[in-house]
């Protein structure tokens, strides 16, 4: 039974989503419970995989890396799912953030439009699949699954700004998908395989002509991943989409850009740093990341509203990751993975928090009233489900919001004492230690970019925080436990990540170590293939 574990993160949300499609929206209590159980099960499965990759005694497979051949067809012919430490980490992050966003949505957002719960499950399926898959075309398919679900979720709640931003988001991602197809076809046409491990083996054997075509394919592939990761200049769709999406959706979207980052990292290491084509190679990626940080920093300073600010903070975190992965040497990968975990949890909490803090803003309230009205959701106490919609006034609602805002700001800008600081500190430490192996110019630039982007984030967050929280005109928002709970839980996870920084960093370094040893990955997927012509 346990050897089928890697399949469950795809199968569970698929079945749950399909079943939810068939149940009537009117029974939302039962549907909510079902969706909650399905997501909870995914958390358990993700944790089991996490344990299996970390401690070999738990693991159902021999060796560090778990390979699941669908239908038991061996690797280059069949489709494989591959679980290594990085995959298990991403799966755990997805499931945790998904659970938090789902609980938050159940408070009321789920009913602001139709089919929220099934779409949410399909989004989780796409994310899990993209992290698990071991071949290029299935990566495309899972990208499409998660994008199709994200289109629906981005438009959830409707309204003119959402439809406008959604239109741009869909158009950009459709073009990116077409480019992905060209890239996949080109790579298949040249290398004759779509399996990622076999691709890595075939790459050094290509002759010059084929190699040129392969580089074009890889270039296009890199562009697609950079679009998904929100790298400048391919990220103009990002802030508007994230700012207009409803709070729980924006919360789960916090991990969407990390799919692009994950794919870039996976391919750049499999292709091998010295033979990797341009967009996957050091310098190129490094400067792209720096430009992204710069644009994100300017955007953060210019943002007049918290939701746009949060969008640009996501851009900065993508830029930081790209620059760290593009940096010469491998010492930055472990700290960068720690930064990834901390920033996903922090920005997820922040997106959900913003909506709570800004709930009473007149414009949003009117707009919401219309969309809730259209779907028959009553903002006031509902006789049928009194405890779900009435909202308990937490006595210290404002204190909670203030504290949560402060914690998120500290995590996202990298100030002590929370996980953001540990992440940035570890990154800076690795950057300082890098020369002379890496160019001093690069180290200096990255050092400055990390510190300046943190400073800009801090300035912008305190300016907008003052406007939101030190405004006596503003009535105290009413919080529901269902909404405050997930935000608090995500922040708590950031605190735990900071307290357990030692063991956590150990794990992330181990993940980076096994990642930078592509031979184990290839051996696990294609046993005994190396050395063969």
């Amino acid at each position: 039974m346990t050897q089928h574990l890697p399949l469950l993160p795809i199968l569970l949300p698929l079945l749950a989503g399909a079943l939810l499609l068939f149940s009537s929206e009117a029974r939302h209590g039962r549907r909510a419970l079902f969706a909650l159980l399905a997501t909870l099960a995914q958390v358990v499965v993700a944790l089991a995989l996490f344990a299996a990759t970390h401690a070999p005694s738990f693991s159902p497979w021999p060796g560090e890396i778990g390979v699941y051949a669908l239908g038991d067809w061996a690797a280059p012919f069949g489709i494989v799912l591959v679980v290594d430490r990085l995959t298990a980490l991403m799966l755990t992050l997805t499931a945790t953030l998904g659970l938090a966003a789902l609980i938050y949505a159940l408070a009321r957002w789920e009913r602001a439009g139709s089919h929220f719960l099934p779409l949410f499950q399909f989004l989780l399926m796409g994310l899990n699949g993209a992290f698990l898959t071991g071949d290029l075309f299935n990566l495309f398919v899972f990208f499409e699954v998660l994008l199709a679900a994200s289109y629906g979720l981005a438009l959830h709640g409707s309204g003119a700004p959402r439809v406008k931003a959604g239109l741009h988001y869909i158009a950009v991602n459709l073009v990116a998908s077409l480019v992905f197809l060209i890239a996949a076809a080109l790579i298949y046409g040249v290398a004759g395989t779509l399996n990622m491990a076999e691709l890595a083996l075939r790459l050094p054997q290509l002759d010059a002509d084929a190699r040129a075509l392969f580089e074009i394919g890889a270039l296009l592939l890199g562009i697609v991943f950079l679009v998904k990761a929100g790298a400048w200049p391919l990220n103009f769709w990002l802030p508007a989409t994230y700012a207009t999406a409803t709070a729980p959706v924006a919360g789960i979207f916090a991990i969407l850009t990390k799919v692009g980052v994950y794919a870039l990292l996976r391919f750049s290491i499999l292709f091998g740093q010295d033979v990797a084509p341009a967009p996957f190679k050091g310098d190129w990626l490094f400067y792209c990341g720096l430009a992204t940080i710069a644009v994100g920093t300017l955007g953060v300073l210019a943002a007049q509203k918290l939701d746009r600010l949060a969008g640009f903070l996501v851009v900065i975190s993508s830029g930081t990751l790209l620059a760290a992965f593009g940096f010469t040497g491998t010492t930055l990968t472990g700290p960068a993975l720690y930064y990834l975990a901390s920033s996903v949890l922090g920005s997820g909490a922040f997106f959900m928090l913003i909506e709570l803090a800004e709930r009473n803003r007149a414009a949003t309230a009117d707009f919401l009233a219309i969309s809730f009205d259209a779907f028959g959701v009553q903002a006031q106490a509902d006789s049928e489900h009194p405890d779900e919609t009435a909202g308990v006034v937490i006595p210290a609602a404002m204190a909670f919001l203030g504290l949560a805002f402060f914690s998120c700001a500290v995590v996202l800008t990298g100030l002590p004492p929370l996980s953001g600081f540990v992440a940035k500190f570890a990154l800076l430490k690795a950057v300082i230690a890098a020369p002379p192996a890496a160019p001093t110019l690069h180290a200096g630039l990255l050092f400055a970019a990390l510190l300046l982007s943190g400073l800009a984030g801090l300035i912008a967050l305190s300016r907008l925080g003052i406007r939101v929280f030190w405004d006596s005109e503003r009535p105290t928002p009413r919080l529901q436990w269902l909404e405050a709970g997930p935000v608090a839980a995500l922040i708590l996870l950031c605190i735990l990540l900071a307290f357990g920084a030692g063991p956590a960093m150990h794990y992330f370094d181990a993940a980076a170590g096994s990642l930078h040893d592509p031979a184990t990955y290839i051996d696990a997927v294609l046993p005994g293939s190396r050395g063969m012509p």
Partner: protein
């Protein structure tokens, strides 16, 4: 055959990109459709162009791979067509919603200012 095939892809991709950059939502969706046809043909072409070769092994012909067309790109193109079709349909719905909400078919939801 190769010349005609590549010209078809080139013309469709070129027109698709031109339309994609136009300001009307209808032009954008037509551009995306043309582009996806070009991409589908391209994937198909990556299996090398063959006439009279089937992708499925036939008992009477034997198992020599040289007698058959590459089945993988054909499977890929099928998946790509289905996904592209579904997502384009979804975009069409969003276009209609945008048209209804903003009262214009400009991609930015408002007319560009004229000189």
């Amino acid at each position: 055959m190769e010349i005609v095939f590549s010209l078809a892809i080139g013309v469709m991709a070129g027109s698709g990109i031109y339309l994609l950059l136009r300001p009307r939502t209808f032009q954008v969706i037509m551009g995306l459709s043309l582009l996806s046809y070009a991409v589908n043909l391209f994937i198909f072409g990556m299996g090398r162009l063959r006439t009279g070769a089937t992708p499925v092994i036939d008992a009477t012909r034997g198992a020599d791979p040289a007698l058959y067309a590459d089945p993988v790109p054909q499977a890929l193109v099928l998946t790509a067509i289905v996904i592209g079709f579904a997502v384009t349909a979804l975009l069409l719905v969003v276009l209609l919603a945008a048209r209804g909400l903003s009262g214009t078919d400009h991609v930015d939801g408002r007319e560009a200012e004229r000189e």
